[in-house]
Each structure stands twice: as structure tokens, then as C-alpha cells.
């Protein structure tokens, strides 16, 4: 069914139409959440995004694409979550460990997974805007113009972010012996 029609029906309270929209967009929300917060917390973030979207559907005026709106919500929620987690880590470092670190996952011995995680640790260390541009453009496959629309920036600003992030990542990969 046409997405516009589904949006209209979802806005008038039709949960089946909303469910159809969820099925159409759940993969990109889920993938984006994982790329920001990792697999352990992505499910919660993705659910929160759609719960919020459900509550805000009446206010969605479809001036931008639904996917753009959902990307923005996912990124905002993921970054807010990460800021909270960083504050919590800072607090623990300052006042001592309140909760012990989680045990390593059973697959942690797999070299490919370790390599992937090492690469993503470097990506995670980028400044928020650079990281968002990399995730959307490089991994989600959005064009620079689409990335600019989601991030609410000019095309030039996004291109600059992509250049800077590429240089920063390559330097870090080289320094860490990954590349």
C-alpha cells in the first residue's frame, strides 16, 4: 500500500496501518541503532523510536520523508542514550565501580568479531557529527544530500564532515595497527 495513505490512516489512529509502516522501516531503524549503541541496547532504542513515533504521529506533517523523520529520532535517541551512558561511566570512574562489567560474550573469541569491534571502537570515538555522517553515508548508503537532510545540515557541511572523518579514521586505523 502507498506510504502516504498508510501515514494518513496511522495519523487517524489505525494501528494496523502503523504496523505496516513499522514493518517497512524497522530494518533501517534497527540497523542505525546498532551502529550507534551496539547490539545489546539497539532493540530497546528501536522500540522507543517507534513508540515515540506512534505517540507523535498526529504531529507528523510529512514535510520530510517518514524515513528521514525516523532516522532523526533514532540518531537523537541513540546519542542521548550514549551521553547518559558516558555520564554514568564518568561517575563510576570518579566514585568507584557500582556495577561490575558484563561478562564477555561467548563469541568473543572469534577473530572476525573482535576485528569488527576494534574497527567500531575507532568509529565510536569520532565526534558525534562525524560519526553520524559516516554511519548514514558509508554504512546506511544514503547519498551526501540525503545525509545532509537527515542531519539538518548543508551539503557542503556534510561533505566536510565526511572528509574529516575519513582522515581521522584512517589515522586511527594506522595508529592502532588495524590497517
Amino acid at each position: 500500500m502507498d506510504e502516504k495513505l498508510l501515514i494518513e490512516r496511522a495519523r487517524s489512529g489505525d494501528d494496523d496501518a502503523f504496523g505496516e509502516l513499522v514493518r517497512m522501516h524497522q530494518d533501517r531503524v534497527y540497523r542505525t541503532a546498532i551502529r550507534f549503541v551496539g547490539p545489546d541496547d539497539a532493540h530497546d532504542i528501536a522500540q522507543e523510536v517507534f513508540i515515540k513515533a506512534h505517540g507523535e504521529m498526529k504531529r507528523f506533517r510529512a514535510k520530510s520523508a517518514l524515513s528521514t523523520w525516523l532516522y532523526r529520532m533514532t540518531i537523537n535517541m541513540a546519542l542521548n542514550y550514549l551521553r547518559g551512558r558516558r555520564r554514568e561511566l564518568d561517575r563510576r570512574e570518579r566514585y568507584g565501580p557500582g556495577v561490575s562489567a558484563p561478562p564477555p560474550s561467548p563469541d568473543s573469541g572469534i577473530i572476525d568479531q573482535e576485528f569488527t569491534e576494534a574497527v567500531w571502537q575507532v568509529i565510536d570515538s569520532l565526534p558525534e557529527k562525524q560519526r553520524t555522517a559516516v554511519v548514514l553515508h558509508r554504512f546506511e548508503g544514503l547519498s551526501a544530500a540525503e545525509t545532509a537532510e537527515v542531519m539538518g545540515l548543508s551539503l557542503g557541511a556534510v561533505e566536510s564532515l565526511l572528509h574529516r572523518s575519513k582522515l581521522a579514521l584512517l589515522k586511527s586505523f594506522q595508529e592502532s595497527g588495524l590497517g
Partner: protein
């Protein structure tokens, strides 16, 4: 890491440090020419360049291709639960109760200060506030509590028989 150390000893850092900028296309013309002149005679730098280029072209993704199959059914349950919570949430009653309690405490304070009535301790104030916030859901204020004893001294008690003891 050992490879890197050997590489570092065998080769001046100046060329190696330029490789990321070279790949990112941010090296100035002169430095780019210098590095390109150096590469044919340095296997270590060529290897470094190739490894970085390969990594950049094949960055591993952290995410699987799709959400779990039961994503929507799980979400639907959560949305139903949210609707129930929204429907039964006693927000307006709480706001009324809080306003009422705040007004009562403020009024008692003014009356106490203005008439020289019995002093209201902070513990009694807190107790009153807690009871008034929950006044629709809890038992009346116990007469032997600090707040109850205070209320028993108020002249308004007879005018408001349901309010306290």
C-alpha cells in the same frame, strides 16, 4: 604490532604519517608528489598504503541486515500496554492533590506566623504534605501522628469534618 614496530624502525615516520591524508585526498600537491616518488622504492609504505586502502574499502559492519522477525508483534504489545497506562494514569488528580497540599501548607504557615498559633515543625509539614498528596488513596491522617495532633488544634476542624480525624 611487532610488524608495526619493525616498520617504524626501518622507515622514517614522515612518509608513513602522510599515508592517511594521501588516501583521504587531503594531502597538498607537493607532499603528494613526494610520497608518490617514495612509494616505488619502499615496500613497507606500499604495504601500509594497501592495507589501509583495503580496510577502508571493506569496513566491517556492526549491524545485521534486518530487525528480528517478531519486532512488530513485540512492539504491538508494548503499544497496547502504553495505551492502558495512559488511560489509567492519575495525572490530573495528582496535580489537584499537589496544588491542594501546597496551598494547605502555605496557608498553615501564614496562619501560624500571623496568629501566633502552634508552630508547625518541618516533620509535621512533610507528613501533612505526603498525606494530602495521597489523600484520595490513603486512610485519613492518624490522630496520634504529629500532623494529626497539629490538625486537632486547628479551629477549622469542625467546619471540615471529612478533612482529618
Amino acid at each position: 604490532m611487532k610488524d608495526f614496530q619493525r616498520h617504524k624502525q626501518a622507515h622514517p615516520d614522515t612518509y608513513r604519517e602522510k599515508i592517511p591524508a594521501y588516501l583521504a585526498g587531503t594531502l597538498d600537491e607537493r607532499s603528494r608528489s613526494t610520497l608518490e616518488g617514495h612509494l616505488p622504492e619502499c615496500e613497507a609504505c606500499r604495504t601500509d598504503l594497501q592495507r589501509l586502502r583495503t580496510l577502508w574499502e571493506n569496513l566491517p559492519d556492526r549491524a545485521p541486515g534486518s530487525a528480528p522477525l517478531d519486532f512488530w508483534p513485540q512492539l504491538k504489545v508494548l503499544l497496547e500496554e502504553n495505551k492502558i497506562v495512559e488511560f489509567t494514569a492519575p495525572q490530573p488528580r495528582w496535580r489537584v492533590a499537589i496544588s491542594f497540599a501546597a496551598g494547605l501548607v502555605a496557608g498553615l504557615g501564614i496562619w501560624t506566623a500571623g496568629t501566633g498559633g502552634p508552630a508547625l515543625s518541618s516533620a509535621a509539614t512533610d507528613e501533612l504534605l505526603a498525606h494530602e498528596i495521597l489523600f484520595e488513596n490513603l486512610d485519613p491522617i492518624p490522630p496520634d501522628s504529629m500532623a494529626g495532633q497539629y490538625l486537632s488544634l486547628l479551629p477549622l476542624e469542625e467546619e471540615n469534618p471529612g478533612g482529618g480525624s
